[in-house]
């Protein structure tokens, strides 16, 4: 059976020893965030995720959501779990104290989010989408809308959605057709059909608040004519209760490959009453606030699933007796050796483990960049953090989710034929992980965002900052012989990034297809390099830990896992650099009809 225990020791190690969480808690708003408080939060979150959410993961998948006549019923146990979830204040941990939130660091939010998605990705979608709606409203809503909706979205009694996609347009939102007619009272009447709306309808909360993209009657065509509206399922009364039903209704739910306990809805808006959020025709900007946060959130889902996949595979590999070690029996008194004796099984486990641990460090570092970008009292520090954050967002989204799927598939492979059987729970991880590579911008779109926008923004300053950060680490540790095995491969990898970016700069100006042709491979190359950097930082922390001498096994394991990454994963960068320099020619040679 799939298994999950929150990796608290590893999480604390990253926070305390790798990413310098003290820099976060030193920021002005986080004066009360003591190590004891952090520990208490992590332990409570672990209990909830392990004991409440994880046990519902398998049953939720089997049962799925049920749709009847506009009403959606979530699987058995979800309502009770959600109540416990909001009673514990978990929807409100990083939200704004001005609206009743706890105002804890985003970094800590990432740690909790990892646990939630490890335990139950489908469940995590309900509060996850609310969080996106909350952020958009907080950044762009008028004060009266904020007062009316943010406290309820924050405490989880109401939930939120993001209504973007329509049947004929997903990536290309410029084509969207949903209309918003201004009404005499300052509101708008929204009419149109939205699809793929996660948590669009369900039975967990007393109200559902849709953030919906639509066009004003006089709006210009394309993406410059899109506005954002808030459309509640029930119109709030003056005392903040859900009142009359609004003209929005769930028409169907999708039958999907995975995340079956998450309701993916077709939403029909039929003159529904809504209020504008942000400026007319600037809806896409407002939506992007929420989209960027959501993209990092989806990246965390990749990490979350990868961790559960790894734990499940490792437990099975230690338990399943089959065959003998190539170097002689290791369990001579048993009928066979546990399959973990086999190098190829370890290869699979170490791909998972070296990803999860490196990605965790990278993720929490990104979390700390959010906190610094928002709360540093130094403008240059805020800008630097935000630059890195912008650059790393598509990398985290695409690489983490690709690896979440790979890790889930490796768990199935470790289980052999048993992995294909539903009751063992690992094939569900493959099906659930698959959506993360698709939603919030398919991973190819992330790669285009990286090469087409992020690498070039501000004259390349964010990219220079990342390279500068990594080169700084190399320079600082190059002389240390203990660090050579991590620093040297990192230096080669960053050389390949520089070479590839140079190739792109020389070619993509003349031919924009060169950027598209390089995008996915360059994203992967940069992701692997960022991971190698994090493994360098982990190794440094491990050597420091060994110096202290209290928990040598733990630190030696970190070093061994980092060595695996450097020697058996990072070499992919050689192939990627070749592929990038092969250019767009082989891709564009064929006529469309030749496919």
């Amino acid at each position: 059976m799939a298994t999950y225990k929150a990796p608290l020791k590893d999480m604390r190690f990253v926070l305390r020893e790798v990413i310098d969480f003290k820099e976060v808690t030193a920021l002005p708003p986080f004066g009360e965030v003591t190590p004891d408080l952090v520990d208490a939060i992590l332990e409570e979150a672990a209990k909830l995720c392990e004991n409440v959410l994880f046990p519902l993961n398998r049953s939720g998948d089997e049962e799925g959501c049920h749709y009847e006549n506009g009403v959606v019923r979530t699987p058995k146990g979800f309502k009770e779990a959600y109540t416990q979830f909001i009673d514990g204040g978990w929807t409100n941990i990083t939200t704004d104290p001005k609206f009743g939130g706890q105002g804890l660091p985003a970094t800590l939010g990432f740690v909790v989010q990892e646990m939630i998605t490890s335990a139950n990705l489908s469940f995590g979608m309900y509060p996850g989408l609310s969080h996106g709606a909350y952020e958009a409203l907080r950044a762009h809503g008028k004060p009266e809308l904020q007062q009316r909706y943010l406290p309820k979205l924050g405490d989880g009694t109401w939930s939120g959605t993001m209504c973007l996609t329509e049947p004929h347009c997903g990536t290309d939102l410029g084509m969207l057709r949903t209309r918003a007619e201004p009404q005499a009272d300052g509101s708008y009447a929204i009419t149109g059909t939205k699809i793929f709306i996660s948590a669009g309808e369900h039975d967990l909360t007393e109200n559902i608040i849709h953030l919906c993209l639509a066009r004003l009657p006089d709006a210009p065509g394309g993406t410059k004519g899109i506005s954002l509206f808030i459309v509640p399922k029930f119109l709030p009364t003056d005392d903040g209760k859900p009142g009359a039903a609004n003209g929005v209704r769930c028409g169907a739910i999708e039958h999907k490959m995975g995340i079956k306990a998450s309701a993916t809805c077709v939403m029909n808006f039929d003159g529904a009453k809504g209020w504008m959020v942000g400026e007319p025709n600037k809806g896409l900007n407002a939506m992007f606030v929420m989209m960027n946060a959501a993209r990092l959130g989806v990246g965390m889902q990749g990490l979350g699933i990868a961790e559960t996949a790894y734990q499940s595979a490792a437990a099975y590999a230690k338990d399943r007796l089959q065959g003998r070690s190539l170097t002689g029996p290791k369990n001579a008194n048993g009928p066979a050796d546990p399959i973990i004796v086999h190098p190829d099984v370890r290869r699979m486990l170490l791909i998972q483990k070296s990803f999860a641990e490196g990605a965790r460090a990278l993720a929490y570092w990104v979390g700390s960049l959010i906190d610094k970008a928002h709360h540093s009292d130094n403008a240059e520090a805020r800008e630097a953090a935000d630059d890195l954050l912008q650059l790393l967002t598509p990398i985290v989204k695409a690489y983490f989710t690709d690896m979440g799927s790979e890790s889930a598939n490796l768990a199935v492979q470790t289980y052999g034929g048993h992995g294909f059987i539903r009751e063992h729970g690992v094939e569900q991880l493959v099906r659930d992980a698959r959506i993360t590579q698709l939603y919030e911008g398919a991973n190819g779109i992330q790669a285009l965002d990286l090469v087409g926008r992020k690498l070039m923004m501000k004259g390349g300053k964010p990219a220079q900052r990342l390279l500068g950060e990594i080169n700084g680490f190399i320079a600082a540790n190059k002389a240390d012989p203990k660090m050579a095995e991590f620093v040297e491969p990192l230096e080669k990898a960053i050389g390949r990034v520089q070479e590839s970016v140079m190739y792109l700069m020389q070619n993509a100006m003349k031919n924009p297809d060169e950027a598209g042709a390089a995008a996915t491979d360059l994203l992967r190359l940069m992701a692997l390099t960022a991971m190698a950097y994090m493994w360098g930082r982990i190794a440094k922390a491990a050597h420091a830990g060994l110096q202290a001498g209290t928990d040598n096994d733990f630190y030696e394991t970190k070093l061994a896992t980092g060595r695996f990454f450097a020697r058996r994963v990072l070499p992919q960068t050689t192939a990627l650099a070749h592929q990038i320099k092969a250019g767009s020619e082989t891709l564009m040679a064929l006529k469309a009809e030749a496919f």
Copy 2:
């Protein structure tokens, strides 16, 4: 919606222009196999697969198989399709004329098998398993057993199974516990539980013939004490009708990730009457005859699914309008360009296309090796073909199925969020393909078979033959400037294979874990090299075709696809060579408890 048309033109191109199918039809038993006959067979197979089997693929997945009280019901339409299938003689095309078969070349059987699995993998499992049972019985059964069972297995009125796995043993068959007690009449009473039995029970045929591994009472432990038995569901009467029910019963069917229309059964043998096939305690040898054939069959499943995935993705990419080309609108009068204008979409399609076409050539070449190994009148030619066949079997099984899954996943990715929705049919390809990497020996086992057995067998002669074959092609084409773009990368790739094998020879003797550590990467390296060789042969055929000048678009497309493979897929070999030479150290460093 997923889409499939049998790629007849491409199939004919491979048979006629790439692999020299004339060498097969020149073999003694195939005198009547004229090009017209081959054409007629391919066209009839295509009609059946496109019009009968493919339309049942989606509905079969949704409905699945139903189990009640020992009885298994296949999905609606399967019984009618199966009747049509056996009425058309499709189960008998390559079987022995001595028992009523049509005795056509195995190569042709591969072509038809590709179409069947492209159309409906689940359906293909029912006749597919029969074929394995047929082969084992034909190779090892006593004449009276052959007379009784082979004609019925051949014409498909009865079907077959392979009963190997038990709950506690899959890969490690040495642990199996099913018992066979000799009876006074020369038969055996078989008792035990087998799991994961494909087509173990169903409603398509009047009888089901199990080939079952079990232990005699005095058998030695381990794999040297396993015998093979034939155990019919209904005991045949003297006039060849299904008679009294035997003591074997389906206890349950598995709920699986995919191939839901294929019944995967728990089979309980309770003193069931069986007859020995082959020698006592030599059952595993007899089973391996069938297993090797089955492994190639599973490889073909990978190719079959990859083709459907490619066709579905290409059709969608040409149809879906979303966004604009980076180099300016290509469909200026439409609301957006079809997504095939994007280099990254083409990258995904070309990975699929270059795999399917190269793998098809490799597969049919392997098919021709079967025919030569069985029917050449020259002993050295038979041996040479068999050597290559042995070596290529694990490569075809593992690489084709890994790529079948990758191709299916790329189809989902091309569809974006729509790919995750069941009704569009591409997510089913991912779920169905996933089993092919697991059954008939998980792909890690294939890799161990390659490095631990096949590379070393006969003092390395089979490996020398493959390298010799490829080096011969390089030598013959090196001077041709038109071929340089294919020959040069092939030469580099084969150099990496030689380097890696050398590394292994130097290290695996001292430490057998080195073989396990290199196995998966070396299999992939050799597979990519074999594919580059096939692309070389395809390119040569394409240049010859261009010379003739009748169908230039077709041949130019082949060359362009081959260039993509050489420049954007084959570079993976650089990373693989590095990873192999990193050795086993990083894999074995951790204690089991550290996972």
